[in-house]
């Protein structure tokens, strides 16, 4: 790596990291404002009718809702800096504990779904790009559109009906059977890891069985996106001069596609991959709800049902931070593997 190249990469990384701060601040401000434009204060909405006016006033004061909006904003931002997102109204749980206890389930689901999406989407995109404008290409494009357009909960319900209800092959909900969940000590809050740590292969297998349908549901959603992106990029790179040059040199078509076109087609794919984190987390909320998956998404819905705005605000804040951070990491990776980005 030349000095000039190293210098430009460093400058890019510093610029990108510095820009991260205002980006986060804007997002946090939007979250804060959105939570405040809803009518009524969160305490009254969550507990109105169940507490006396005096108790509601005390809870409002304890939660800081009797202070000016600017003071509340400052406390919100400074709380995030201290990693203090408040305590839920309905069950007095620190919001950070929700992530600690339920984050593992969401991580398991989303990472499995991502793997499935890559395993399905990338090869299908490669095939579709390679056989462009054929019947197979058309079929794969329809598959991509359908998997992307089909609502996650609908796909999940179909899978439950077919594979759980009718065929009885797989369980339809939860991370594991209740008895299995009970016997595996929770060390990491990631069930499959806990089962391995406990040396309980039957529990691990039970967890895998429970994971298949939700991961497949969410994975298929993303696979359609991946397939279309890989296909388009592959078609573009197959038209490139260097591909033509490779063909002219007598390189076999298989090598041309895989070693020259496909690898270069994956560079923009990495950028898109970062953007899919938000789609993945959004889809995870619906998937968790459909499959009674005890992750952050199902907790978000639970607290929304209870109108616990402190919990909802905290969860949305951390999810937003996760998306922005993932975006930063993808940009950095992209800058490292693709020199054009940093110039």
């Amino acid at each position: 790596m030349s000095t000039r190249t190293a210098g430009s990469l460093r400058t890019y990384l510093i610029t990108r990291v510095v820009l991260f701060v205002p980006q986060v601040l804007v997002i946090l401000t939007i979250v804060f404002v959105l939570m405040r434009v809803a009518p009524g204060d969160p305490v009254t909405v969550a507990l109105g009718g169940q507490r006396s006016p005096e108790q509601l006033a005390q809870l409002r004061a304890a939660a800081g809702y009797d202070r000016s909006i600017f003071v509340q904003y400052w406390e919100y931002i400074s709380g995030i800096v201290r990693f203090d997102l408040g305590t839920t109204i309905v069950d007095s749980r620190p919001v950070t504990q929700i992530f600690k206890v339920n984050g593992g389930a969401t991580l398991t689901l989303t990472s499995s779904a991502l793997v499935i999406a890559l395993l399905i989407g990338v090869p299908l995109g490669l095939i579709a790009g390679r056989v462009r404008d054929t019947g197979l290409d058309a079929g794969l494009r329809v598959f991509g559109i359908l998997t992307y357009a089909a609502p996650v909960f609908f796909l999940g319900l179909i899978f439950q009906l077919v594979f759980a209800r009718n065929l009885g092959w797989l369980p339809s909900s939860s991370q594991a059977s209740p008895l299995v969940l009970a016997r595996v000590p929770s060390e990491t809050n990631i069930f499959l890891v806990d089962a391995l740590l406990a040396g309980d292969s039957a529990a691990f297998w039970n967890g895998v069985q429970h994971l298949i349908l939700p991961a497949l549901t969410l994975g298929l959603l993303l696979s359609g996106v991946f397939m279309r992106i890989v296909r388009i990029n592959l078609i573009q790179t197959l038209r490139s001069d260097y591909v033509e040059a490779a063909r002219a040199r007598g390189v076999s078509e298989g090598n041309v596609v895989i070693r020259h076109a496909f690898r270069n087609a994956l560079v923009p794919f990495v950028t898109i991959l970062g953007l899919q984190v938000a789609l993945l987390l959004g889809g995870a909320i619906l998937t968790e709800q459909t499959f009674n998956w005890n992750g952050i998404g199902s907790q978000l819905v639970r607290y929304l049902d209870s109108r616990d705005y402190v919990a909802v605000q905290g969860i949305i804040t951390l999810v937003a931070l996760a998306v922005v951070t993932a975006s930063l990491l993808i940009d950095i990776i992209n800058a490292i593997i693709d020199p054009r980005v940093r110039y």
Binding site: R183, A202, Q289, N292
Partner: protein, 538 residues
């Protein structure tokens, strides 16, 4: 080179996955380490089933420290973890000794209980009269916002006169005290519980048949057997797993797939109907017990049009509760014709006595006799997110019944519970729906809060005769006199119709083949005694 490394890593990962998969199997072994003590103690009966009972529910548990909860799901765990001085035995309606040997009135405002000897908490500490004092005093000191402590409001002081005797001094005569002492609010807790703060949920323990082994309200609560329990309740299982589901549909799938042995609170009406029809093919049976949850329509008697008794009576004359129970609830509720539900002492079908069968002509006559112009217009409010998805259909049916009579013009309005709960008592609604779960199976629960001049609905109802009857219901320790007063009050309610009761919901559970004991615990006390249930491995 990199390609080869990648291939080698991929092969290793695949091989690892196969090995792990091969190590597993389709058969799930039942949990063998539930932590339950199985009869080491001579006082504990040998459980009749080695399996922990797996109970699925959509309920939300908030707190199992009795000083921190006032909701049915949390109380239900308290009923299985703690003892109270008194309890209402299954199938009965009167309080009987639990941790107490005996209890009796000393005078109108003094109540004394003698504890059984040899009672132990699960940590081995002794249960004495001091524990009762500590339990009541910390309830009143903490004053948790859930409000359960308010049930103990008439207890001015409580003292332990010796190790086994506790005396309650009341600020005013309160005939319901024995019932109040059966509630989870009066659960007896260990001295190690903080006097002014809540015990953490995962560290809660008592002297009841179960002890908490793990606590995660988002997923699962695990209860094991309390080896020190020496009460009268039989123990038919080796522990309980409460598995939480967010959706009724997921709970139904879980019982069908055998993931849970019991599905209790709540299955949707359509799911219940499906399980009743087809459940046997899937190894699932539906069990029904008498319930004491009621639903009712409040009429704003403080202003037009319901300040005119004839308008209220005409509505009572038209509403067809049978049609609601069958067409909307598919028989999962029982028509309720009075303020006190069936199964509770003092129940009288007073509306049926007063109005007979639904009769539009009779309603027309009532309105004509009072000179009321028809159709009478009013707004009728309900909320979609509190008492089940069928409430909307029910009010659609009520609107149809009233408008088909040609005597009423009903405008249905709905509001989410968050807003509804803040406005139902401000007089802004002409008529509105509410539901009620009793704290204990005594008729006073269904009369006093609703029909005293100072009622929580603030709907303008006031009747001197009713207030006098309520005074008897509240304070007379002669049960016969109380029941007579309750029956009189019930008839006044039917005559004046300020509130029209619609149904009482049956308690319904779905159980897997081989699970026994559920039917016995679904009684009007509304307490699910886990110890009654036994399961067999399928």
């Amino acid at each position: 080179m990199r390609t080869r490394r990648f291939r080698a890593a991929a092969a290793l990962a695949a091989a690892g996955a196969l090995v792990l998969a091969a190590c597993g199997g389709d058969d799930e072994e039942p949990a063998d380490a539930n932590g339950a003590a199985n009869g080491d103690d001579a006082d504990v009966e040998e459980p009749t089933s080695e399996l922990p009972i797996v109970l699925g529910t959509t309920d939300t548990v908030t707190n199992v420290d009795p000083a921190g909860a006032y909701d049915k799901p949390s109380w239900n765990i308290a009923y299985n973890v703690y003892q109270r001085l008194l309890a209402v035995p299954l199938g009965e309606t009167d309080p009987q000794p639990d941790a107490a040997e005996s209890c009796d009135w000393v005078d109108d405002t003094t109540y004394s209980c003698t504890l059984k000897s040899g009672l132990l908490f699960s940590d081995g500490s002794e249960l004495t009269a001091e524990n009762v004092v500590h339990s009541i005093e910390r309830q009143k000191a903490i004053e948790h916002e859930s409000g359960g402590w308010e049930l103990l409001a008439t207890i001015e002081s409580v003292e332990a006169t010796d190790e086994s005797t506790v005396v309650f001094n009341l600020s005013t005569a309160d005939a319901t005290l024995p019932y109040i002492l059966t509630t989870a609010a009066a659960s007896i807790v260990p001295m190690s519980y903080p006097a002014d703060a809540l015990q953490p949920n995962d560290q809660a323990f008592g002297s009841g048949p179960y002890t908490i082994e793990s606590f995660d309200v988002t997923q699962q609560i695990q209860l094991g057997i309390n080896a020190n329990y020496s009460g009268d309740r039989p123990l038919n299982n080796s522990g309980v797993l409460l598995q939480f589901y967010q959706q009724e549909s997921a709970l139904k799938q879980a019982i069908e797939e055998g993931e849970v042995m019991i599905a209790y609170r709540s299955l949707s009406v359509t799911d219940i109907a499906d399980l009743e029809e087809n459940g046997a093919d899937r190894g699932v049976n539906v069990v029904v017990g008498e319930g004491t949850e009621i639903n009712y329509m409040v009429l704003q008697v403080s202003r037009e049009p319901f300040d005119e008794p004839a308008v209220r009576q005409a509505i009572a004359q038209i509403i067809d509760r049978d049609a609601i129970a069958e067409s909307v609830y598919r028989g999962t509720v029982t028509p309720l014709y009075g303020p006190v539900p069936e199964g509770v002492a003092g129940h009288v079908p007073s509306f049926q006595e007063q109005y007979g069968e639904p009769d539009v002509a009779a309603a027309e006559q009532i309105l004509a006799d009072a000179g009321v112009e028809t159709p009478v217009s009013f707004d009728l409010w309900w909320m979609p997110d509190r008492y089940g998805a069928e409430i909307g259909d029910m009010y659609g049916e009520i609107e149809r019944q009233l408008e088909d009579s040609g005597l009423f013009d009903v405008t249905l309005e709905q509001l989410s519970w968050g807003q509804y709960s803040t406005v139902f008592s401000d007089g802004s609604m002409d008529a509105f729906d509410l539901g009620w779960f009793p704290d204990f199976p005594d008729a006073s629960n269904y009369i006093v809060p609703f029909f005293h001049t100072e009622n929580f609905l603030n709907y303008g109802y006031s009747n001197d005769e009713m207030d006098q009857l309520i005074e008897v219901i509240r304070t007379d320790t002669d049960q016969d006199a109380r029941v007579a007063a309750i029956e009189d009050a019930t008839r006044i309610v039917a005559e004046e119709a300020p509130i029209i009761q619609l149904w009482q919901r049956d308690q319904i559970a779905a159980v897997r083949d081989g699970v026994t004991g559920v039917e016995e615990t679904l009684d009007p006390s509304f307490i699910f005694y886990y110890n009654m249930v036994s399961g067999v491995e399928e």
